[in-house]
Symmetry: C2
Amino acid sequence: MNMDKVNEDLVKERAKCTFNVEELTFFLDGGKDKTLERKERERVMLTKKEELFGGIPDEYLSHKEKYENSIRKAVILFSLLRKIQKENNTDLFNYRNLLSGVLGASISQDGSPFGLHYIMFMPVFMSQADEEQQAKWLHRAMNCGIIGSYAQTELGHGTFIRGLETTATYDPDTEEFVLHSPSLTAYKWWPGGLGNTANYCIVIAQLYSKDECHGIHSFIVQVRDEETHMPLPGIKVGEIGVKMGLNSVNNGFLGFEKVRIPRTNMLMKHAKVLKDGTYVKSKNSKLIYGTMVFVRVVIVFDSVNYLAKAITVATRYSAVRRQCQQKESEPERQILDYVTQQDKILSSIAGCYAMKMNAWRLWDTFNVINDQLHKGNMERLGELHALACCLKAISTTDSSLFTERCRLACGGHGYMVSSNLPPTYALTTASCTYEGDNTVLLLQTARFLLKTWKHIDSAPLTPTVAYLKTVSDPGFSDKWENSVEGIIRGFQIVAMKKISWCVESMTNKIMSGMSQEDAWNTISIQLVSAAESHCRAIVISTFNEDMTRAMKSMSPQLAEVMGQLIELYAVFWALERVGDLLQYTSISNTDVVNLRTRYEQLLRQIRPNAVGLVDAFDIIDELLQSTLGAYDGRVYERLMKEALKSPLNAEPVNQSFHKYLKPFMQGKL
Amino acid sequence: MNMDKVNEDLVKERAKCTFNVEELTFFLDGGKDKTLERKERERVMLTKKEELFGGIPDEYLSHKEKYENSIRKAVILFSLLRKIQKENNTDLFNYRNLLSGVLGASISQDGSPFGLHYIMFMPVFMSQADEEQQAKWLHRAMNCGIIGSYAQTELGHGTFIRGLETTATYDPDTEEFVLHSPSLTAYKWWPGGLGNTANYCIVIAQLYSKDECHGIHSFIVQVRDEETHMPLPGIKVGEIGVKMGLNSVNNGFLGFEKVRIPRTNMLMKHAKVLKDGTYVKSKNSKLIYGTMVFVRVVIVFDSVNYLAKAITVATRYSAVRRQCQQKESEPERQILDYVTQQDKILSSIAGCYAMKMNAWRLWDTFNVINDQLHKGNMERLGELHALACCLKAISTTDSSLFTERCRLACGGHGYMVSSNLPPTYALTTASCTYEGDNTVLLLQTARFLLKTWKHIDSAPLTPTVAYLKTVSDPGFSDKWENSVEGIIRGFQIVAMKKISWCVESMTNKIMSGMSQEDAWNTISIQLVSAAESHCRAIVISTFNEDMTRAMKSMSPQLAEVMGQLIELYAVFWALERVGDLLQYTSISNTDVVNLRTRYEQLLRQIRPNAVGLVDAFDIIDELLQSTLGAYDGRVYERLMKEALKSPLNAEPVNQSFHKYLKPFMQGKL
């Protein structure tokens, strides 16, 4: 197979791109220097190309072999990371990039057994361990001298953290905590890396001292011997089995049979237990929200990265794949020329760009508010929490829906694991339930919105909800306008009216004798829907504001295309939620018809730049890992080449023929 | 673990069910005798329980081991089937049940390597082989003396069958056809069982004789030696690699290097090639559509069965799982009591019942029209084709969306393969692209609808489109009514207006100089949307009509619940498509608010019967294969028991610790 040549349809697509792809890549990376940094990290990684990407692909291995291979590869990768970290003074921005950037997520299609060490164990430890504890463990943890996991969720308890069953009972005689799992449902379940990999773990347990329960607290617990890796006495640890995806993550279970740990293993930066068992409350119990929000920010970035992969694959494949002649004499048509295909692909591209801008904004907001938090200013914590909740929910939901749409748009071949679309979907759909189920998170945002609405006249409004005042002002004109700003206003009006309906409805139900909880439950479908509309208003308006600002420093060619993406995104969601707009705004049927026409025009305008828009993500083939999406577009050669790696193709006749099939066919079974 | 006891929440749920579950089971099976037949088939199968369901679960095996295990199990299963078939004079109804019933689909979570033999090879052979050919092969094929596959799709060609590249060129000198794959994209790709299992195959190829191409025809080709199973000379055969699901199906590729087969291997019931190479056209080329429609009917039944599994799992789990206290003193609440959960689960239950009634109706329609076809009456073929296309598209789309909703509604545990939800999703989403991509199928239906609309005044309307005349009649009152009938009328009006818009729009575009094809492409998003609305109108109205009729012979208790399901389904879809209704019907905002209230009331009414409604499907644990969904609801014990089967839990320390992890942690790598 001659793999030098690029598929000629892709060559043509690239030739007709109207903007400079590199300019867009620099923008997406956050500047030319960041692109160069990323490329340097990739270069270092590719020095181990054969070890990381050679051999029989993971999907052909058994569950156990996959684990062993993932450890082998993780060790190579994280040794490189350790080196890069040492060489460069890595700040939090780079740390986040290392973690959730395409680099970290892609070596294994299916997650990493070290992931939780970096994403949960380290940040939680850094924010909750006191100085003594940091001195003792931090350096070792940083260098992977120990590998940690984070054990919160239990077999019977997820969302409702107060319901966790694991207990840590203080024994002043020995100055120890006794960790115990009182039932099967108390077993920790899900922590990444815990199955067979981690030797330490942060465990969340109900703290008991002097016969009193003080609620959940964090403890650092050694689970395996550092020399032999054997589970320590009283520790029941293992892995939880095969999942839809994330099978290299080595998720584990953990049970305690009265396991004793020193008092000093409780993370005591905030709350403390003194030697005699006296419990000292945290002065600022809200500081620990910082880590939770940090993780959700990382998830929003992840969802952008997953979607960027899916659209890269689907777009390039749609340029290469041909189907149906328009006229007898003509060749079959590129499927990217079908409007139904453009609808699926280009709206996903716009969605990816929109969420990227929102991830950046969330990151900035997080940094600003986190700084205020550490200075004792709690004012915007509620807003940050509500924003991170709904953005996590919407970004992961969108990302998984768009990824799956892209996969289905690739027809049968999108079902092949070698396309990398099924594993990408498995990763992105997982994030819809982990770190807060999306329905639960939207209800959290709704709670904040209802509270805000109730005090709208008395309290000052924080930035993300300021619109509620504007659009509910009696002097506000609700005249519909078919423009990006008009659509944003439309979503704001929808959100405001839904929120106000919910508040009114709650009040009525409570007045008629319903409990607060039952009233909340009764209208919860509407609460979720209000939070969604609110979040969509934010996403569109952030995309519009921040991209429009950025466009001022772009070449006119690029700025034009970015403008089209903003409008496509706004119009797409207006049409998706046209029922809301018709109910709550003054949009007319004619406006809707015009929006549909505009949508089709925008598809036509963006179509020639589709390949350029995904090329700009600059995901190298080794990280994209897709037969359908490689830069050269040699789809069919790659599909066949990958198939030939199947061990079932290594011998002409499988042994099961002689053992089972032949006797069966001959009627002997 | 004491597995005798049923979870007490499930006991309570069953106690409060208001109808007789067995009565519903008999109805769902098609009568008490059918239930007994099914149970007898299950009993026979369970005589091999240990061989079929024991051992390490498939998900822990390597790809190759999975294949070998699937052959072992398929041989056991199909030996039993062969026995049952011999003992009972199996008719087509039972044949379909054997194939697509819960029995066939469930032995392996991931499909069967013999599936295509039964579902494509046999039916195509029976309908296209002439008497001589049937005499030669049919008996052997029936008894699995040979195993066949069906090879149509090629690496570069799916939807556009006329574009297939494989050639069959007649050589009158030797009275043979020469099969050839002129390029890589001509390789057959996807046929089930072809990889390592089948020894025969029906191959679709472009027929050339006397230097003329006569389009695609079917040929029976031996691909492997019957004794040794070695691929025959010139045959390139192998398996295509790991997929998102269906990994026990052994999908294969197949290429020909000038392979010669006898003239008599062309299936000649319809078209023929005489010894001298003279091509004789089929008298009735449309008869072969029968098989295509049959397969789509089977797919609709499959999609019901998959969804029945998913809702059984999600409903039982939601009754067992508890989350969040309403009050400090109370236990946590069953998640099925949350309205957002009811929304996800109960709408899926209604969707499953609705599609079941539609599958039956389609089956009846198919039988009636197929009979007419064989009597030479082609009148309703277009309608049948259009109906099967859109029902296949809508039932598989709904089934996969609802299955995935159910999976996500089970939170993290729904991500475990042992829940059987991920494999069920993988099966149902596959059916969205195979046997006709859903977007393409909806466009086929749209083509029929536009044609119908154009001749609405001149030609008599067949039953499924008769409503177009009614709702477009100038005397028709479009007053909105919040009832099932009102909603059905609403969807019919929406469909009619979209269709008429499309016709008008096409005409305008063509008048302004656009080609027919470009005009079609330009409005294709609207065409798809018109076909969807049309199909939804049919699905709701069929559910309503046929279930209402059936309710007359049901006990009042059961009939009441069935009535609630009909209304829930209608209201659910009205709210899902409220944008359409607001645009095209006279529904008011107040009507919409009332529908929402009614929806919430219906959720409350159906809630106590949720478990009864899924118990009635009577899917035994061995076929449900779900830790979360077993009849006894012992969710946590089963999750742990399954996890302990993981080979990674068989030894306390995995070898990779010594090999990679320890040196890495000690900084030696």
